[in-house]
Amino acid sequence: MADIWLGLSQAFWLVITFDAELMEITLRSLMVSLSALVIASAIALPLAALLAVRRFRWRRWVIAILNALMGLPPVVVGLIVYVVLSRSGPLGVLGLLFTPTAMVIAQVIIIVPLIASVAHQALRDLWSEYHDLLISMHVTQGQKVATLLWDARRALLTASLAGFGRAIGEVGAIMIVGGNIDNVTRVLTTAIALETGKGEFALALGLGFVLIGLAIAVNLSIHALSRTEVEARW
């Protein structure tokens, strides 16, 4: 119990003194996970809409696999990205291993299935509502997708935020592909793992509370920006 109080007070002091190192790794955490969120949403949301709208042969299989991949173990993703990006790997020439870019790539792979699955559920329901009308209006495939994405935007926001939550709290993959290098690829989660390993529980806990606060702050600000739940409409 004492450790927790110590951690809380550590977190408090780290935050109000604008500790330089804390600011740096917090910002890096944010940059990596927000980049992953934007890229993954750009892939997953249109994919989810296409899966809802189009009927093709392997559709059910794709959806089932996507659902299964929601539980993709980050460590394994990290390992695979590591092998692909390592010097002797197929993309080794890019020299991306142990950079924040590699961390973004790993996180994108981890959260695309999650965002796509959750988004697909919402879009499928909306599509069953809209189907007859849009078919009757002879809208193009692209217009269907755009209409669904726009009208389901609040549900899609939830899907994206779930993805962000998984990305910002993830440690296994970014530890492997980022390497937890001080000043280069160290982020909140890898720093927590490191401090815990060193026995610095109070500092680790302090970082942990900062991480939780960060996740809450991002969620709240996105909700505020998109005015969800403001107009009690849909």
Binding site: E129, L133, V139, T140, D151
Partner: protein, 237 residues
């Protein structure tokens, strides 16, 4: 101005899992006015409408408009029994069909505002369409269908869930559309409505057309026994 009509249907059938839902249908629809489809539940009214509109699969036979199919589809609209509301505001619902056709934003907005006034929803244009009452939603669906000035408008029991006043409001809009040259093809259970709107009557039973002809003849001297029984209010199966 292109001419959609006459619409010629020959031996048209639609089947689902080996079961024939409607057909074979032979039918020619031409001229102006309104064709009203009546018949008991499950007689295939909805499926026939969807078939003519191209929303149900044609498994046999032929449906031909007096112009290429994609052009014909551009000049039709469909109003469903239960109105489908886009999760947007009233105004955005009205703008939507114009927007997908590439009408400019300003023009679409102008036309949408005018239509909102026509259906008495001017005060509601910035409200969500989902908070409207059933009658208001159906009027909105009707305006959304008419805003593109379709040459043929299909309506599937448009007043099934509406009370007398809302029904009258919908019928006023329909009469005006008819005056403006929109060909109406609608189904109904309301024989009063059929008498008020119909120029042509079509009686469906068991997925087939049992009778098709001018409205006066149908109401005064129906040819088939089943149609006479139906008009009398008997339960026809």
């Amino acid at each position: 101005m292109s001419h959609l009509l006459p619409l010629t249907v020959q031996g048209a059938e639609t089947t689902h899992r080996g079961k024939r839902l409607v057909g074979p249908i032979d039918l020619t629809i031409e001229g102006a006015g309104a064709t009203v489809i009546v018949g008991p539940n499950g007689s295939g009214k909805t499926t026939l409408l969807r078939l003519l509109h191209g929303a149900a699969r044609l498994t046999h036979g032929e449906i031909a408009w007096n112009c290429p199919m994609d052009e014909a589809q551009l000049h039709q609209a469909f109003v469903f029994q239960r109105p489908v509301m886009l999760r947007r505001t009233v105004l955005e619902n009205l703008i939507y069909p114009l927007k997908v056709r590439g009408t400019s934003k300003r023009e679409a907005r102008k036309s949408a505002v005018a239509w909102a006034a026509k259906i008495g929803l001017s005060d509601m244009i910035d409200r969500s369409a989902l908070v409207l009452s059933g009658g208001e939603q159906q009027k909105l669906a009707l305006a959304r269908a008419l805003i593109t000035a379709p040459k043929v408008l299909f309506l599937d029991e448009p007043c099934a869930a509406l009370d007398g006043r809302a029904t009258r409001e919908v019928e006023v809009i329909l009469q005006a559309a008819k005056q403006n040259g929109t060909r109406l093809i609608l189904s109904t259970h309301d024989m009063g409505q059929a008498r008020r709107l119909a120029d042509e009557m079509l009686f469906m039973l068991g997925g087939k057309i049992h009778e098709f002809g001018p409205a006066d003849t149908f109401f005064e001297a129906a040819q088939t026994a089943s149609a006479r029984a139906f008009l009398k209010g008997d339960i026809v199966e």
